[in-house]
């Protein structure tokens, strides 16, 4: 087993909403491990808490209104990020653990050149001179496959297309050679053809640089060929977690089943048709349903599901905790046949 990099236990990030509409329990008890060089996929519909989870890892949650609850635990190579002093935390951000965001159009600062924005982290973390950092930025632009990097380095974000900006974001995140890269829906805002290119690029860079990647997406189809392990999130919780081949071969949670059924088949290209087979939508984070949070949308749900919240149950064959599911079906498998 490779070295354990990141250990997350019982992460809870809540938001106090305005006008007393209650507390949004955006992330509500998420646990996972990330090993060196591994790729972890976090999958779930919009509003399931994927972004809040990833922002929490770098402690980028706006406080207030958000806060990470005591009892949560995020450990990077033995350092508890939740008790770290601000300065030590900054030394990790963008240096050991970096992040790219969903919106390449708004995530770059419009008034600075892309070269300056890439170079900045290298100057701050590695103490590079401006000149060396600029050379480094050009190198990074070359690495992420931006054509004509010597010219592009002096361009402003508005002069680049969405795909090129996302490449710049990747270059910026990787400039210090982080151990962990968090990519929050890096392709969602892009055209389908560009999506494939960016995913390919991330794959290639991971092979070359050997960092661990957390790839967040709402599309199970994207993780299939890319990630080692999948974490399925629903309503702020992990509902299923398994190695990728196992998850695709033996999805146990009805939500995972639904996600899989909505993945567009390769032979029938329908990239726009997603999640049609799961009726309803993710409820507001201020009002998660009682019992199993998925029960109002679940085709198998029975009375137990409406009152009793299922824990993560071990479904692993052989290795313990390799496949876990938050569903009462695991305790009462006979119920599965009674699908309406």
């Amino acid at each position: 087993m490779t070295e354990l990099l990141l250990r997350v236990r019982d992460l809870r990030t809540y938001f106090v909403t305005e006008q007393g509409r209650g507390t949004a329990r955006a992330v509500d008890g998420v646990s996972f491990d990330l090993h060196a060089g591994e790729t972890l996929g976090i999958v779930g519909e919009s509003g399931c808490g994927k972004t809040v989870t990833s922002l929490s890892l770098l402690r980028l949650i706006p406080e207030p209104p958000g806060h990470i609850l005591p009892g949560s635990f995020i450990e990077l190579e033995g350092r508890n990020l939740l008790t770290l002093a601000p300065k030590a935390l900054r030394a990790i951000r963008g240096n050991e653990m970096a992040m790219i965001f969903q919106e390449p159009m708004t995530s770059l600062n419009p008034v600075f050149t892309v070269g300056d924005q890439i170079a900045e982290a290298a100057i701050v973390h590695q103490g590079l001179s401006r000149r060396a950092a600029r050379a480094r930025a050009i190198e990074m632009l070359k690495l992420v496959g931006l054509p004509d990097p010597e010219t592009r380095v002096d361009h402003y974000p508005h002069q680049l297309s969405g795909g090129m900006r996302q490449r710049v974001m990747i270059a910026m995140a990787l400039v210090c050679g982080p151990k962990v890269l968090i990519a929050d829906e890096p392709t969602t805002a892009l055209d389908v053809t560009i999506q494939a290119q960016i995913l390919e690029l991330l794959n290639r860079l991971q092979d070359e640089l050997g960092m661990a990647v957390i790839l967040i997406t709402h599309d199970l189809g994207i993780v299939a060929g890319t990630v080692d392990r999948v974490l399925v999130m629903y309503a702020g919780q992990v509902v299923e977690s398994a190695p990728t081949p196992e998850l695709f071969a033996r999805p146990l949670h009805p939500y995972t089943e639904g996600l899989l059924a909505s993945v567009p088949r390769l032979d029938t290209p329908h990239p726009r048709r997603r999640l049609h087979s799961i009726p309803g939508q993710v409820p507001a984070a201020t009002a998660w349903p009682a019992g199993c949070r998925f029960h109002p949308r679940c085709p198998y749900a029975w009375d137990r599901c409406t009152v009793e919240e299922p824990p993560l149950l071990d479904a692993g064959k052989g290795e313990p905790a390799s496949h876990v599911v938050r569903c009462w079906l695991l305790a009462e498998p006979a119920r599965r046949t009674r699908q309406p």
């Binding site: 900054r90 970096a98 995530s107 008034v111 600075f112 982290a121 701050v124 402003y156 974001m169 910026m172």
Partner: protein
Amino acid sequence: MATWLVRRVAASLAIVFAVVTFTFLLLHLAPGEPFLPSGDTPIDPAVVARLRHQFGLDQSLPLQYAKYLGALAHGQLGESFALHRPVADALGDAIPNTLVLVGTALVLELLLGLAFGVYQAARARRLPDVALGYATLFLNSVPTFWLGLLLLLVFGEALRWFPVGGVVDPVVHASLPWAGRTADRLWHLALPALTLGCVGAAGTARYERAAMLEVINQDYVRTARAKGLPERRVVLVHALRNALLPLVTLFGLSFPFLLTGAVLVEWVFAWPGMGKLTAEAIFRRDYPVVLAAATSASTMVVLGSLLADVLYAIADPRIRVHGE
């Protein structure tokens, strides 16, 4: 960029022309006449008629207007009715005083406004922000002359920290060495510039606070934090640089307000600038002075907004490229 500049300058000239025309019409439509006996000093009607003839006021309005424009095109501003000197000389004395006052107020407005706005945004909704919010709201709502009078009474009359009016001390100024004369000027400038600058700074602070609060929630600010930059750099470089853009526009907008405010402040502090000159000229129906003052004030305003546009194009790379 060049065609844009040409168009912009043409528009500016049109605005100045419109101001001259409008002022001319207003002056002649308004009741009252120059050279009329004011109250108890009787004047021979023959003298009035002779003066009216001498200054061309007995001619038809269109003819007077055409003549004035012709002279203006040649840079001639005419002779003041009341001051017995060329209008250009009177303006030449007054404009530098006003520019010093307005320029200092502008610097105060931008620096104080920026500092308070950024500080407030960083402490948003906490006590310092709320307190400053009330203070700026107050300054923003009191009339400028009222604030001027207040400062004058407190710091001029009661505490005697500052002189109560004028540009320099009439008695000792000439005998002072260079440094002393500069200090004397600054000492006289303090209250009027502070009056004018504080009112503007209050508005700028409120504006800049809102701009910062909007920018601070942008995705690219989060990106800057995710890079591991110190919070100071995140706020003062990544956020502020973007929040400065609206301030450049505000600079163009605030210039006319400062000039208008200067009229009142000059009156309160007996500051011999354009505002005071114009106000006195209006009371005396000194047409050439009023017209020339309106022309130069509108020229300054359009130049100010032209400068703001150019600055904006320099400050925002997105505009720079489109302009080229």
